[in-house]
Amino acid sequence: MHFNRCTLLYFKGIIGRILQKIVEIVFKALILPTFVFEGGSVMLQEGANFRFIKDVMIVNLKGELDHHIADRIKEDIDYAMSKKNIKKILFNFKNVTFMDSSGIGMLLGGYKSIKSIGGALGVCNVNERIKKVFDISGLFSIIPCYTDENEAVEKL
């Protein structure tokens, strides 16, 4: 069990899988952030929503990305990578309202980890204000920035 400010619900057996399906549907209906593993468990997140399109794990960031939030997202990504063989990560910045250099640090750290296993990392939907922080750090010289998720999934 992995308890942090996210919760892992794991149900066993046939009844377990039915219960799990119900929980998934309810959470999706309430538009609660969720992360679905193939192994049959649901993890709830704050500040980020994890999905999969093809072989890319998409992290939908939400709200402010500062040191406090970045630490938590990094934990969740590490956890996800320990459970699933993830080679491609995309960070979607569409709903990010604020970012400081902690966000840059988080991306750099993620980039180093995924590169060490031969994977790829990218970002998309970065607005002008957030782009200013990216530009100062020069991060775009090593991490690709895509216009949207579709372009990213294609090119990562």
């Binding site: 500062d66 040191h67 840059i104 204000r129 100062i136």
Partner: protein, 144 residues
């Protein structure tokens, strides 16, 4: 120059207060009628300074961070002070991409961002006593 207004606030060096610090300074600065971009710049700079105090100043301990903001006719002066570890070599610390904590996924861009987003930056630090970051942002007010 004449001081229009001033505030000082103390809070614990907990990361959940980073957001609070940004909002408090932005709210105070709004009295100068800044643009959204100017507010965003101020929030980012404050966030960097406060995060530095939490991660580097106090490391694993919890201490007090003091923010003082002074409003002048043409801008805002912001002080962020901690009584933590202090910086041994300020010039080295200010170097872009240099960080004393790469293992914590720090990008080493904090001071660089403060320098870029604010109009001036001064760092006063003494090992074992603490660090004070003083920044100024000119606000090109609509009413002139």
């Amino acid at each position: 120059m004449e001081k229009l207004n001033e505030m000082t606030i103390d809070f614990l060096s907990k990361s959940q207060n980073e957001s609070f610090a940004r909002v408090v300074v932005a709210a105070f600065a709004s009295q100068l009628d800044p643009t959204l971009d100017e507010i965003a710049d101020i929030k980012t700079a404050v966030s960097e300074a406060v995060t530095n105090s939490i991660i580097h100043g106090y490391e694993d301990k919890v201490g007090i961070i003091r923010i003082k903001a002074v409003l002048y006719e043409d801008g805002i002066e912001i002080w962020v002070q901690d009584w933590g570890k202090g910086i041994e070599d300020v010039e080295l610390a200010k170097q872009p991409l240099w960080t004393s904590k790469p293992e914590l996924d720090r990008s080493g861009m904090g001071f660089t961002i403060m320098e870029n987003f604010m109009d001036s930056l001064e760092v006063i630090s003494k090992l074992g006593e603490g660090t004070t970051v003083k920044m100024y942002k000119k606000i090109k007010s609509k009413k002139s």
